[in-house]
């Protein structure tokens, strides 16, 4: 359980800027490792968390802090009651928050500045009350990994394009791969928060949790293997595709196996969650609490994007018309050079179409991840 200030028994909160526990009442500060744990013997295997329940909205607040749960931060209702003390397995270590809440807001706002498409309403929501610092459980693993892939790619043969097939199989040993230890948090989002630098990690001390929320791993060994295999597969596939000298390379089929070495390390990594609703849909943008990396896709104002697209279209068509007029003046319509020039413009169009569609699909996929109800509820459950 969180300790109190030895000078005035006030509440101690971990400050990422100073990396110290600070007393809000008398201003004293302590290094977490210097604060005596009076129940050290009991705390070798487990640590205590307080679980509060909001009787208004039913949300659960999990914290090791003493006062931060005096009201439900989600619905703002003070009808929050202490439910139970839960014993959780002590993680092996954690990376303390380095980025303060103000820095996290600043990092998000840098993305907003001069941003022509993000709605002002969303910008206004980027305030401290909408940001939560949550320690996310991760398993840091070493593993052996084997994968076999059957790939296809398009190759030019004379004037035509043919599809060729490729086979790759390989093995690799990976070290210190962080695998998100929560089944609720989407692995595609959590992997984008990387890198986390393990050099900054500390032995687990619940004093670091003061002032933040935390979550414990709900995974079993089967889930961990599944997540580890998926994480390794994504990295492996990215490398394998690069070895194929063809266009539009696709993995047609693959099979993979992972073997996690003994003693995966149970860690907690710091993440800021910025949650808000726009047009009735939930959004969660994440900030790596160690490096400050912002992950997520912001909603955009449809009117502005449509206006932007129409203006762009008019400008593009004007440029094309100028080029075509120039060509017609120089060469008669349907002369060889004219036809070649036209073919080049059409090829450019086809290239832009393919790239544009693929890019928009990727953005849409990321937007869906950001709009994930599960992550929104994940934060809600932890913050109240």
């Amino acid at each position: 359980m969180a300790v109190l200030c030895s000078n005035c028994a006030g509440r101690l909160v971990f400050n990422p800027a100073t990396q110290k526990l600070e007393c809000a009442t008398c201003g004293s500060s302590f290094r977490p490792e210097d604060v005596e744990d009076k129940n050290a013997e009991l705390h070798t295997k487990y640590y205590d968390t307080r679980v509060y329940v909001c009787s208004h909205c039913g949300a659960e607040v999990i914290t090791s802090d003493t006062e931060s749960s005096s009201f439900c931060v989600y619905c703002g209702n003070p009808a929050i009651v202490f439910d139970r003390i839960s014993k959780e397995y002590r993680p092996d270590g954690l990376i303390p928050f380095k980025i303060t809440k103000e820095e996290a807001i600043k990092n998000i706002k840098i993305r907003f500045l001069k941003n022509p498409i993000v709605p002002k309403e969303v910008m206004a929501k980027c305030v401290p009350e909408n940001l939560r610092g949550i320690y996310i459980p991760y398993w840091v693993i070493n593993a052996d990994y084997t994968e076999a892939d059957y790939l296809s790619g398009k190759v030019k043969r004379g004037k035509s394009t043919v599809t060729k097939y490729y086979s790759r199989a390989g093995e690799i040993t990976v070290k210190n791969v962080p695998v998100d230890g929560s089944n609720i948090l989407n692995d595609d989002i959590s992997s984008k928060l990387e890198p986390f630098y393990l050099e900054d990690s500390k032995s687990f001390d619940e004093d670091y949790l003061n002032g933040f929320y935390s979550n414990t791993s709900d995974m079993n060994y089967f889930d961990l293997r599944k997540s580890a295999a998926y994480r390794c597969h994504k990295m492996f596939a990215e490398e394998v595709v690069k070895t194929v000298r063809a266009k539009d390379v696709k993995i047609e089929d693959s099979i993979y196996w992972v073997d996690i070495h003994d003693e995966p390390i149970y860690m907690m990594f710091p993440v800021w969650f910025f949650t808000f609703k726009y047009n009735g849909k939930p959004y969660t943008v994440l900030v790596n609490g160690q490096s400050g990396k912002v992950v997520g896709t912001m909603p955009w104002e449809k009117k502005r994007v449509v206006a932007l697209a129409l203006t762009t279209f008019v400008l593009v068509m004007a440029v094309i018309a100028m080029i075509i007029t120039g060509l017609i003046e120089k060469w008669v319509l349907l002369s060889t050079i004219f036809v070649y020039a036209l073919a080049a413009i059409t090829l450019l169009g086809t290239y832009s179409f393919t790239k544009g569609i693929a890019g928009l699909r990727r953005i849409n996929k990321n937007l869906k991840l950001t709009q994930s109800e599960e992550i929104f509820k994940f934060v809600k459950k932890r913050q109240g």
Binding site: Y89, R111, I117, V118, D144, A148, Y150, Y165, S167, R168, A169, G170, E171, I172, T173, V174, K175, S191, K192, E194, P195, T216, M219, N220, F222, K226, K234, M235, E238, E239, T243, R245, E252, I255, V258, D259, I260, H261, E263, L286, V295, G296, T297, W300, V305, T312, V316, M317, I320, I345, T346, L348, G349, T350, S352, F353, G356, G359, L360, L367
Partner: protein, 103 residues
């Protein structure tokens, strides 16, 4: 107007409009990606492995029988039978019907 010339002009204008729409699409994607899509990258293999991938099979332009060969050769778990000690935290969440040999 001669029907053939009309068709030619229609195709010509259609191609130009298609090019215009495509380039607009590409520019809109670039704008959305710059202003709306953040942190769309994850760590690559070399971040977690010094030696990189050791290739066991690396063949181009393979015949159609390759898929069958590849998956019959690599379809068996090469790590089967390896025993590991599993941390208590992971055992705590294990359900009775979990089979650790399956991914």
């Amino acid at each position: 107007m001669d029907e053939q010339v009309f068709m030619m002009y229609s195709v010509f204008i259609g191609m130009l409009v298609f090019t215009g729409v495509s380039i607009t699409l590409f520019i809109v994607y670039k704008i959305l990606n710059k202003y709306s899509n953040f942190g769309d990258s994850s760590c690559r293999m070399d971040e977690y492995s010094l030696r990189g991938i050791h290739y066991l099979r690396d063949m181009d332009d393979v015949p159609s029988t390759e898929r069958h060969f590849l998956f019959s050769n690599y379809g068996v778990n090469p790590y089967e039978g390896r025993q590991h000690s599993i941390p208590e935290q992971l055992l705590k969440n294990t359900k009775p019907d979990d089979d650790f040999d399956q991914i």
